[in-house]
Amino acid sequence: MADSAAHFDIDMSRGTLKLVPRGDWRARFLGELDDDLRDFADDSIGRDLVIDMSHVDRLDTVGAMMLQRTMHCCAERGDASQFTGANEAQTALLAQVEGHLQPCHVEMAHGNPFLAVVNRLGKGVADAYYAALEVMSFVGRTLSTAGRVLVQPQKMRWTSTVYHMEEAGLNAMPIIGLMSFLIGAVVAYMGAKILSMFNADIFTVELVGISVLREFGVLLSAILIAGRSGSAFTAQIGSMKIREEIDAMRVLGLDPMEVLVLPRVIALVIMLPILALIAAVLGVVGGGLVAATAMDISPALFVSRFQETIIINHFWAGLIKAPFFAFVIAIIGCFQGMEVEGSAESLGQRTTLSVVQSLFLVIVIDAFFAMFYLEIDF
């Protein structure tokens, strides 16, 4: 089989312009021919053209399209323009393609780039404003749903709540405990190094106690839960949204706030303080272990010093923050899930947003608590 590469000849004899394509005119062989053919089309505008198909071995839609494009380019050609020598299949292909020559719209047109930047900036600001409003309205809806359920306790979804308590709380305990233990140890090492320079090794107990109880225990738990459960909430609710399950719930008279959001919020609000408590305990244990091994502070000394100097307020100052963090993480996770629309890409974006926003808000709230505690001398 002598399949020759695609090429074309131009025959000007006998007055008419004649294009003679030869060889295998299929897409994969036409890449280099495209520009030449376009040039030829531009040169031959307004003239009669005959395309002789008798030397084409093989033809597919792309080849047919390129020839039809040449035939129909820009201005109209005279009456004598035609295809000759095409066999039946080629004629059918050429006819099939003829009606479908059109410019391609790959993406929506982009305007002036400067305007686009300004546009994006404005849109970003407006979006942030509306998103803040929507989150607040979501908080309101959650609270009013909670109020309604409080009045009618039989509407409470206990199974779902307990499931999420297990999933988000119980299953997270090992990793949170381990993390907090290590952080407690790290803080103690830091203290050991620096405080020993002032012969103040014993203050390691205060350092570990106060930092772990007030901040690290609860903050680490919140951060881990935001990454672990906040994102899971978004992904779960978001994929339900994509498959129209949320819509199905609405038309069946099931309130998604009641069925999906409230159990998750309640589960986290209950579990995060417990996780924070465990984190605080293990953080202190980690610190104590380092104090005993790397310094000469025996566990007995550590405990008695701890009891003398660390007042219970430090513990409460940390723990009080936990339900607030939990509420924010659950709300943002569920809210972003509800905002998912259409595509899998949107699900990914919303999951990322959910983690970033809840981490940001957790830190902001923590800062507010710090200022507040300072003012009231807590």
């Binding site: 792309v62 099939q96 410019p103 719209h105 595509s343």
Partner: protein, 262 residues
Amino acid sequence: MTDQTKAYDHVIEVKGLKTQFGDFVVHENLDLNVRSGEIIGVVGGSGTGKSVLMRAIIGLKRPSAGTVRIFGEDYYKADDKAREAIEQRWGVLFQGGALFSSLTVAQNVMAPIREHLNLSEELAKDIAALKISMSGLPEDAGAKYPSELSGGMKKRAGLARSLALDPEIVFLDEPTAGLDPIGAAKFDELIVNLKESLGLTVFMVTHDLDTLHATCDRVAVLAEKRVIACGPLDEVRKTDHAWIQEYFSGPRGRAALAVKAS
């Protein structure tokens, strides 16, 4: 043409196919041949494994026994290169269109062109526009994202993508399911039209009796884990089998036949 010296009798040749999920056997000892240039419709009750058969042929569900030959080549025994060559000669329309949701329709159609053909961006765009238009989509559909399209338009866009590389075989999984009767009839017309002008072989899984009447050269009926009848519609209809009789002689079957006769 190179392919005139064909080393095969049938473009698709399924022999002794057995597929199973765990212990659940879907097909056993199933034979099916598809001739070049025909439209074959695969019908069967729900759960008889029509879609699984299609997936076994296009390499998405490895059979536990039997062979699948495509263009004379044993797909599951072929090396990577031969397999890739086969894959470039077929196009698949999945039930929901299976468009890439992060790309526009035109970018979806251009994806296989960019991957497999070394063409200029401009020519790739022209090709995408051609396929989109040939699939019966309006001109501005190319710039839209799949989530902005109706179900029927998604199917057309999926068809445009499956035609991107000028395949020789097109697999259609329930092409008219979920379309309104007018849209479905137009889709039937489109498939016949494309088959005639492009010389396609079409392997179609369908429930739609009207589509069977309007498009298919041959019909294969799946039941009892194998193909129980295969041939032109009029012959298959006469087969003495309970399911076939119920299928073609039920109220819908008769209605579709009446439409054809008129």
